[in-house]
């Protein structure tokens, strides 16, 4: 049984580094590269354990940190070279400014309009409509453009969060229900292992949930002879 660990999701490697620095009150101007590298890698490991995909940006930063760390150890012994931490420290300083500024901006945003405006009059160049221009095809073409104006707003933010957590294709149970219905339409029965062939873990979970749904709606019945035996899915005779 896995515990539900709340793992903070970061916007990117700099966001993560920034947070580590602030949590441990490390001075950006004299960053402890050994400590920060250790903690950074530790976080990536946790992500891995949670089965969250780690994006290439995080990995690039990890290798960069290791590189800086090894250069730094050499730098400590000699003294004439440029501090290898410099570039990273500058980047973090720069990122910090905008991160802090964005917090101020967030506080100053007025989320509800207290002021109202007027819509402009629409001026049109001709006086006739051409009914031939109105067709399903034409509607399909303008649909994304028109309705986006209003409603994409709430949606896109939700999307963003989801992709951050899942970072991959989102498989809906509905999709899988349709798929299973299709499969059993033509066959009397089908094995669970057959319908999850080539599926990744998320898809298998979605498939399993959709089977539970279909049992509930009495569209299918399932048979399993022994524990851990293959599950046989049959069309319900009702």
């Amino acid at each position: 049984m896995k515990y539900n660990i709340q793992l903070q999701i970061y916007e990117g490697p700099l966001d993560l580094l920034y947070d580590l620095i602030s949590k441990h009150k490390i001075d950006i101007k004299d960053i402890s590269i050994i400590e920060i590298t250790k903690q950074y890698l530790h976080y990536l490991e946790m992500l891995d354990k949670m089965d969250l995909e780690i994006t290439s940006e995080f990995i690039t930063m990890a290798s960069k940190l290791l590189e800086i760390k090894s250069k730094y150890l050499l730098y400590m012994q000699r003294d004439e070279e440029e501090d290898p931490r410099l570039e990273l420290m500058e980047k973090l300083e720069e990122y910090k400014k905008y991160k802090l500024a964005s917090q101020d901006i967030r506080e100053n945003i007025s989320y509800i309009n207290e002021v109202f405006y007027r819509n402009k009059e629409e001026i049109i160049i001709d006086d006739k409509i051409d009914l031939e221009e109105i067709s399903i095809e034409a509607i399909k073409n303008i649909l994304p453009y028109i309705l986006k104006v209003k409603s994409s707003e709430e949606e896109s933010e939700k999307d963003e969060r989801l992709t951050k957590i899942v970072r991959g294709r989102i498989i809906s149970v509905e999709e899988k229900i349709t798929y299973i219905r299709d499969v059993i339409k033509n066959k009397e029965e089908v094995k669970f292992t057959n319908i999850i062939e080539n599926c990744d873990k998320d898809e298998i979970i979605a498939t399993f949930l959709s089977i539970l749904e279909l049992i509930k709606s009495k569209e299918i019945i399932v048979v399993q002879d022994l524990f851990f035996d293959d599950i046989l899915i049959k069309k319900s005779s009702e």
Binding site: Y117, I124, I142, L147
Partner: protein, 178 residues
């Protein structure tokens, strides 16, 4: 509440609402404890102020409702500003409006205008004349706004039997129709 304030509340409401509005409705919005007579008095004083100074904004009376509009003496200037940069044909504007009505019906003019970002009086007129939409009643709120629906004529034009046969909206991830 001071009298001047009432006058300017009326001004702000008429500006933002844009549609014809009755004394009774203004009364409800401003302060129900005042009498209609009092609201009418303040509204008339606003109307006179606009008229006497030949201001850019005027208020006209239509039946028993009032609406804010521009002063017709300045029409030539306004035509200059409304000259659009990107010109739309009536057919394009019609198709846009019709699509919004088709998916969001029943819907009022104000709602359509908020989606399109422009006033739609003319386009709605054209759609009504061509029997592509009908006035399907009125909402029981201020202004008693007319609600619009598409007609069978519209379905015929598209060669479909039911509204459900319109292209599904879920396909476009970003769209949410309530």
């Amino acid at each position: 509440m001071k009298r001047e304030e009432i006058k300017y509340i009326i001004e702000s409401v008429m500006f933002a609402y844009g549609e014809p509005i009755s004394i009774k409705e203004l009364n409800y919005i401003v302060n129900e404890e005042l009498s209609s007579k009092e609201i009418e008095f303040m509204l008339n004083s606003l109307i006179d102020e606009y008229k006497d100074n030949n201001r850019g904004i005027q208020i006209i009376k239509l039946e028993n409702k009032y609406q804010m509009c521009t002063n017709k003496d300045y029409a030539d200037y306004i035509k200059k500003v409304l000259e659009p940069k990107k010109k739309k044909t009536l057919s394009q504007a019609t198709l846009e409006t019709l699509t919004i009505i088709a998916y969001k019906q029943p819907i009022t003019k104000v709602e359509i205008e908020n989606i399109r970002g422009v006033k739609c009086d003319k386009v709605l007129q054209t759609l009504l004349e061509n029997d592509l939409i009908i006035e399907a009643g009125r909402l029981n709120k201020i202004g008693k706004p007319i609600i619009y629906r598409t007609t069978d004529e519209f379905l015929k034009l598209l060669n479909i039997e039911k509204l459900e046969y319109l292209p599904p909206i879920e396909k476009y991830q970003d769209i949410e129709v309530k």
